[in-house]
Amino acid sequence: MSPTCDPLVRVQADDFDPATETRRLTAGRRDVGAVVSFTGLCRDENGRLEALELEHYPGMAEAEIARIANEATGRWPLTGLTVIHRFGKIAPGENIVLVVAASSHRRAAFDAADFLMDFLKSRAPFWKKEHVAGSTEAGWVEAKDSDLEDLKRWEG
């Protein structure tokens, strides 16, 4: 009954264009009623952040995101799903992560995008390091307990 779709997963150093990715899921189709896109950007902590550096586990990053994406397409009737996560140095204001979920139904698109972001945060093998202006020390961002709390929203 549920439309199946094959998620598109990319892990890359280059920037992405949310508009292009959205068009890929809607162009020439008449069955898409809702597209939810989430873009996560590098946010400046009080003007002191020079850049984020994102380390990742090549191979596992793609595999783990694909596992989460496939779980989402099994849970919600999606017509399309795209997930892109960048690695490397990223300046404030730049894109880090993109999730685009398309469906015939509004709630499915919202929930799938929300679910993807919750699981990416605590299961995709990426680690953020902060490069701070005027300092040679770079510090690893600590995981938040709330990230694990977020996962519980999707249980049961």
């Binding site: 996560g40 994102l54 380390e55 990742h56 586990y57 191979g59 596992m60 595999a63 783990e64 996560h85 880090i96 992560v97 972001m117 990416l120 945060k121 605590s122 299961r123 995709a124 093998p125 990426f126 680690w127 953020k128 390091k129 690893w140 961002v141 600590e142 995981a143």
Partner: protein, 83 residues
């Protein structure tokens, strides 16, 4: 066994990856972490709180109680902060 380290685990150990021969008594992920801690100050600094260390076996998340396969890529890293 191929070991691979990320983020501050990598920095504290001072290696990205290495291949080690494990003694026969190292059977689980927890055994591995305990054995590595004894290999020097860099390892004990990286693994001082084994409970926060996340582990992947052949690129899939694994519990500390998981038995190690004979040949595998075992990755050790801090809690993830992507997204």
């Amino acid at each position: 066994m191929k070991l691979i380290y990320f983020a501050w685990v990598r920095e504290r150990i001072g290696l990205s990856d290495e291949t080690v021969d494990l003694p026969a008594e190292v059977k689980t992920v927890a055994d591995l972490l305990n054995w590595l801690k004894g290999r020097g100050e860099n390892y004990s600094a990286a693994l001082e709180r084994p409970d926060v260390i996340r582990v992947a076996i052949n690129q899939e998340h694994a519990d500390h109680s998981t038995r190690l396969p004979d040949h595998a890529e075992i990755a050790l890293f801090p809690p993830m902060t992507g997204g």
